[in-house]
């Protein structure tokens, strides 16, 4: 300690700043500030990556999963609503646009798109969709390069990133329309747009088990 103090007293101004306890504290503060900023920036993406990984464990090969109505065992995402029935479609635009299609029940349903930085960059609900069905085409580039949405054609949405997720919420209401909601969920189809013609309704490979970490099976 005394060696360092002597060096500090004797050194030039830059040396005095670097050597000894004040320099150490400054270094700690600098590392702390950079670490703090990096952690705060990374945290939302970490959470989304974690949610995406948990969902993709349960998803079928088109990235689709139908979660059961939330209860006290539902612990994948905080504050699940027990009044909603959720389905999730993970999308990845690396190769081509992604298509999501669903028929609408007589009650509230919405499709909301999330980027990996947690931004909810687009939402549409049943009252905003013409006809009894909803079809979205998620594209990586400027949306106007694709055909504009008209009746019977998909609603084209630009994704700010290559990957994201579509969260479909059905309002469970009194529970009396549970069968109608399940029938509507079976019509939910998503996947790369080029293979849309081959896409069958979602129940061909549907997982109805709980998301990983909840319930007993890991379907």
């Amino acid at each position: 300690m005394s060696e360092r103090r002597e060096g500090g007293l004797r050194g030039r101004l830059p040396g005095r700043l670097i050597d000894g306890l004040p320099g150490w504290l400054l270094g700690v503060a600098l590392v702390a500030a950079l670490t703090h900023l990096a952690a705060v920036h990374a945290y939302p993406r970490l959470l989304m990556s974690g949610a995406r990984a948990a969902i993709s464990e349960a998803a079928d090969d088109t990235g689709l999963v139908h979660a059961p109505r939330p209860d006290a065992t539902s612990r994948t995402v905080v504050r699940p609503s027990p009044d909603l029935v959720y389905s999730v479609c993970l999308y990845d635009l690396a190769a081509e646009p992604w298509s999501i299609r669903l028929e609408l029940p007589d009650s509230y349903v919405s499709v909301s798109l999330y980027a990996m930085n947690t931004d909810n960059f687009f939402t549409v609900n049943d009252r905003q969709a013409p006809g009894g069905a909803m079809e979205l085409l998620i594209v990586p580039g400027p949306a106007d390069e694709y055909d504009a949405a008209t009746a019977g054609r998909p609603l084209v949405v630009r994704s700010p990133g290559g990957r994201g997720m579509a969260l479909v919420r059905y309002f469970a209401g009194s529970g009396a329309n549970a069968a109608a909601i399940e029938a509507a969920r079976r019509t939910l189809a998503c996947g790369p747009a080029a293979s849309r013609a081959e896409m069958a309704p979602s129940d061909r490979a549907r997982r109805t088990g709980d998301w990983p970490g909840e319930g007993d099976d890991d379907a």
Partner: protein, 187 residues
């Protein structure tokens, strides 16, 4: 050797302080917002313009929330008299028609998940709540079983309430939102 100790301890201390302060900024303390009676709304939930600290806090407390046009969220940690909610007490939540396409009020534990209870009831919504002739409603929240519309708290030691308004009509003022009244448990 001395220089190595100097550098390693500096980096290690910096990392600890940086990560600790980041965690405190993100998870420490409640997300404050605009109060409407006992109901607090954080205007940053679902906002794309949130700065990095707000974005991290919202991600921690409300991941996958919706933008304000689709849903508005209010959290209550106090009753309408300003007293912190207590899982030892009984509350009556009452109100008139709320201006939204549909709404729900859900109880959550301190870990932000639904509270286990034998009845498997976690919320009331605009279709499950019993209505008076004037369209108003009331239900009780408590651990102890109650008659009528009752939201059980299981074995919870602490809880909060989340009010969701989907497709809200106009800006809600405190008078549009339910009253949270403590009806027993007063010492």
């Amino acid at each position: 050797m001395r220089r190595a100790v100097y550098s390693v301890t500096m980096v290690f201390a910096g990392l600890l302080l940086g990560l600790g302060s980041a965690w405190y900024a993100i998870a420490g303390g409640a997300v404050t917002g605009v109060a409407h009676g006992p109901w607090e709304n954080n205007p940053l939930v679902g906002s794309a313009t949130a700065g990095p600290w707000d974005r991290a806090r919202v991600a921690h407390h409300a991941l996958l929330g919706l933008t304000r046009e689709e849903a508005v969220y209010y959290v209550a940690t106090r009753d309408s008299d300003g007293r912190p909610l207590s899982a030892d007490a009984t509350y009556r939540i009452s109100g008139a028609a709320i201006p939204a396409r549909w709404w729900s009020i859900t109880a959550y534990g301190p870990d932000y998940y639904l509270i286990p209870n034998a009845q498997g009831v976690y919320s009331f919504n605009s279709e499950t709540v019993s209505r008076r002739e004037d369209g108003g409603f009331a239900f009780l929240v408590s651990r102890a079983p109650r008659e009528g519309d009752w939201l059980p708290l299981g074995e919870a030691k602490r809880f909060d309430l989340l009010l969701r308004l989907y497709n809200p009509r106009g800006g809600a003022s405190a008078s549009d939102l339910p009253v949270i009244e403590r009806v027993d448990g007063d010492e």
